[in-house]
Symmetry: C2
Subunit: 554 residues, 2 copies
């Protein structure tokens, strides 16, 4: 049997979030495997109420644990590294990452009781890690977190370039500028396939550099008369630096609020990439700093309910309180789906008299992803035989394939679960793997198709009626059925309590019911549910979820 080179996304392809990509080489169905990234995505009330985190379903990988030669993490964003703590034990392979990413990955492993030493800190290209049939090199690349890397994956049948998340920024304030010569050098002998970030494929203008926003932010810090609060992703260390330096220049002390903020700065200092960050003051000391000499750098740019920005919008937080004349800067973009939470905070701040400045104008934020012209630059640099878009919803992947096609590059829209054979000159779909989402729900992992979350959504939409009934030793109802309602109005059309109307109709049914029905658990359950739904529909115009509990004294 001939060996083949495969690509299989388990997460991140057909969505933005929970990245998990697999590469394999070897005989069909017996390839040696490497994993690139193990990320999470975040729940929302519409589709995943009560869920804590969403992760890719890695059953396919777990069943092939013995064949995994390494796990490579491109950078430390949650959607790339967030699941490493939860999943590592089940995959059991060594983890490779650059220093900053390794620092974050080790913290996550330790939180789950795994040894930090399973993570190896790698040097960048031209160093390479040998993992089974692959040699993997880390190419520094600019993104919105330090030490991001693209991967050069050498297989026996050719070189692959996996961009990871990237932008083309030659002045990124902190960390690696985009090094065109380096990317050209790894590409010059031919690249079989470019597996490429697609997030900003619909942004038509070239991306702007992190450096461009510094002066604007400085000006804002100087012009502000009261306290300034700034929020951004805590992992955007370059932005934290830009904000903190601007504060310093404007004569403002910097105070960090929020666990993630302190943790990220700590990690960046530990690995030595953040060296000239201004000294910070504690929240306690900040209370004594005049407002016009203070900047708070806080978590919660996406409106997260418990983050520092939401806390400050509700009242005093750690002794600090916003008021009329203060300025709140969202140095961030609101991720689609988070608008309501962010807008709520903006209005709460407005009620306090705080001036809110957001990314409306683009002066205080730049994206970490390559826009369309920058993606084309990457295509031109790498000149791949095959283009596989990743890190995008279906519409992003499709658009990206079209761009490649317009330049004669063979491509395919490969979504989660599609196994692509890259051995030939064109990508070939060779298998569909059953994949999906795993929810961390409290402390339990549940599948997205288990029906648990579906039941919760139904209770949220329809309310819940509980019917209890006692059946005696002679299979006769003992007393009347009893109803409890949750999430439903207490009275409806007839102006009598809904539970009374329900109990009355259920009693009538039971009085008429024959022995056979009363003995048949399923039938009785079904009939009682039906009555509850019918009566509720008439009374309150809704069909609730129904739980029937029949207690038999036999």
């Amino acid at each position: 049997m001939t060996d083949r080179l495969i690509y299989l996304p388990l997460g991140g392809a057909g969505e933005i979030g929970m990245n998990a990509y697999v590469y394999g080489y070897g005989p069909a169905d017996n390839e040696r495997l490497i994993v690139v990234d193990l990320g999470v995505t975040f729940p929302d009330m519409d589709t995943t109420p009560g869920v804590d985190l969403i992760m890719p379903d890695i059953s396919w990988l777990v069943e092939r644990k013995a064949r995994i030669d390494g796990i490579f993490i491109t950078h430390a964003h949650e959607d790339h590294v967030g699941a490493i703590g939860m999943f590592w034990e089940r995959l059991g392979a060594p983890v490779y990452a650059r220093a900053f990413t390794a620092n974050i990955a080790r913290r996550k492993l330790e939180e789950h009781g795994h040894p930090a030493k399973v993570v190896t800190t790698v040097q960048t290209w031209p160093d390479q890690v040998t993992a089974g049939p692959f040699k993997v090199g880390f190419l520094p690349v600019s993104h919105s977190i330090p030490e991001s890397a693209g991967l050069v994956i050498d297989s026996p049948v050719g070189r692959l370039v996996h961009t990871g998340d990237f932008k083309i920024d030659v002045t990124p304030v902190l960390g690696d500028p985009f090094d065109r010569a380096l990317w050209e050098s790894v590409s010059k002998d031919g690249v079989k396939a470019l597996i490429c970030d697609s997030t900003n494929v619909f942004s038509p203008l070239p991306g702007r550099s992190e450096l461009t926003i510094g002066p604007e932010i400085e000006q804002l810090m100087r012009d502000a008369t009261g306290m300034v609060v700034a929020t951004t992703f805590a992992s955007n260390i370059a932005r934290l630096k830009t904000l903190a330096m601007a504060a310093q220049k404007a004569g403002r002390s910097v105070c960090l609020l929020g666990r993630a903020m302190r943790r990220m700065v700590e990690a960046a200092v530990e690995v030595g990439i953040l060296t000239d960050f201004p000294p910070t003051v504690s929240p306690e000391d900040a209370q004594r700093v005049p407002r016009e000499n203070l900047m708070l750098l806080v978590t919660g740019s996406q409106g997260e309910r418990r983050a520092a920005s939401a806390q400050l919008a509700q009242g005093p937080y750690l002794g600090l309180k916003l008021k009329e004349g203060d300025t709140f800067l969202f140095s961030s973009k609101t991720i689609p789906g988070n608008e309501r939470g962010v807008i709520k905070i903006m209005n709460q701040l407005s009620e306090m008299g705080v001036d809110v400045i957001d990314d409306n104008t683009g002066r205080y934020h730049v994206s970490g992803h390559a826009n369309r012209p920058d993606l084309e630059t990457m295509h031109d640099i790498v000149k791949p035989q095959i283009l596989i878009p990743m890190h995008g919803e279906h519409r992003h992947l499709r658009e990206h394939v079209k761009i490649g096609a317009s330049k004669g590059i063979a491509g395919v829209v490969a979504v989660n679960g599609m196994m692509i054979d890259l051995s030939g000159n064109r990508p070939k779909v060779v298998d569909y793997i059953e994949t999906g989402r795993t929810y961390l729900d409290g402390s339990v992992e549940i599948g997205s198709m288990d029906g648990i979350v579906r039941d919760r959504i139904r209770m949220a939409l329809n309310g819940h009626v509980v019917v209890t009934l006692i059946i005696d030793e002679n299979d006769e109802p003992l007393g009347d059925p009893w109803c409890e309602i949750m999430g439903l109005p207490e009275t409806g059309k007839s102006r009598a309590p809904l539970v009374d109307v329900l109990e009355e109709d259920l009693s009538q049914f039971l009085n008429r019911a024959d022995d056979k029905t009363l003995r048949d658990e399923d039938k009785l359950n079904k009939e009682l549910s039906k009555i509850v739904k019918q009566v509720s529909q008439t009374e309150i115009g809704k069909k609730p979820e129904v739980t029937v509990v029949v207690s038999r004294l036999s």
Copy 2:
């Protein structure tokens, strides 16, 4: 006691949606009242799962029913007219509106069994309606629905101008162009207060005319090779006309899909404002039209789950099926909070191979609201003594007041429930009315603070455990307690079924419980709930909602 002139927003101020404004004149607490607009707002899963519609709480008005002299509807958008059917009977006053708005209002009244004749169709300014101490005139104004009106409200102490929703568009394709001379003429003798739309106060550039997008849309219709589907708000008759005319010019037949789409076109034809709409074909006939000669004009621009756009994104709908090479145009802006639904449809369309074009570029949609420079134009035209921003979230109202203040116009951020005395030279807050939101939930109206929706949200986040227990005549448990779970994982940490672990621990508690506890309904309930929460926290890391049903055989 001296008479006073008051303004009281009950909805629409401090939010975008469910507009309801009250004006009054007379002795304090005995003013004669008029109502401007009675709108609804739409629920979302985050805050109002299962709710059908959200309306302002009009208790304050209902208690003063005898003092209401008229209800004036500025235009036929749901957030201005949507609650008229539900609320009219409780207010009982005559309703005034221009023909198109009156047509829609009558349909809503009839749906609720009220006579259509309570709505009087008014002529525009200089005609005036006398309503108690007020004379009210309708000023035509450009917006994104036909026959929008600002109101000139003459009171014994001066003139008020209530803009309604508006934009400054002198070439609106259909309906009334903005007539600067007219607005100047009503303002020339002095305006006491301008009550002004604030929706787009953060949009820095002058608004564009509806006319500008016609050529762009025509070009798109011509360039498209397959079927074109276009969606926009059904009430935006000018846009429907632009889209339909562009289709016609590109040799495409027009087919309307969606109830609201047909209904709005019908109303516009009935009142004579839509005269040269191209002939349409039925969905059945459309099946026989070559794709390149067809345009579907469909509902669902906001990703509504049951609208035509969502249906088409899922598969065949009324015999029509999209495929590779077709084009789907969102001639609309996604309202914040609706992103997830819209993006879902875009990706479903992408999976079918359909090219999706949205408002990314601004070429295919213009807003119906005045941007910041246009608001300033309105201030300059009306030259009011007082500026009261409305139709905006707190941040919009606050920004709008600031703009006024920068030009020396007295203003106030008046949110729902704040009663403003406009008698003097400056606005004065004289009362805070208890107000809020009423939910239409199925067929029942419930208050937003009733706890019903809160219980649903809790069940969605935490799941629901039902405990049933029988206590015999001697106050002893009869058999073991029984647990049912809904929306929770079946097994947790101990790998045994969660219900078994719960029942075991509840049984142990009951075995130890003294007679007093077993006889005390409240205490028993509390203790059992506590155990369920504790055990669940240990087993599955979640504290569910708990309903305890104790059946006593006594």
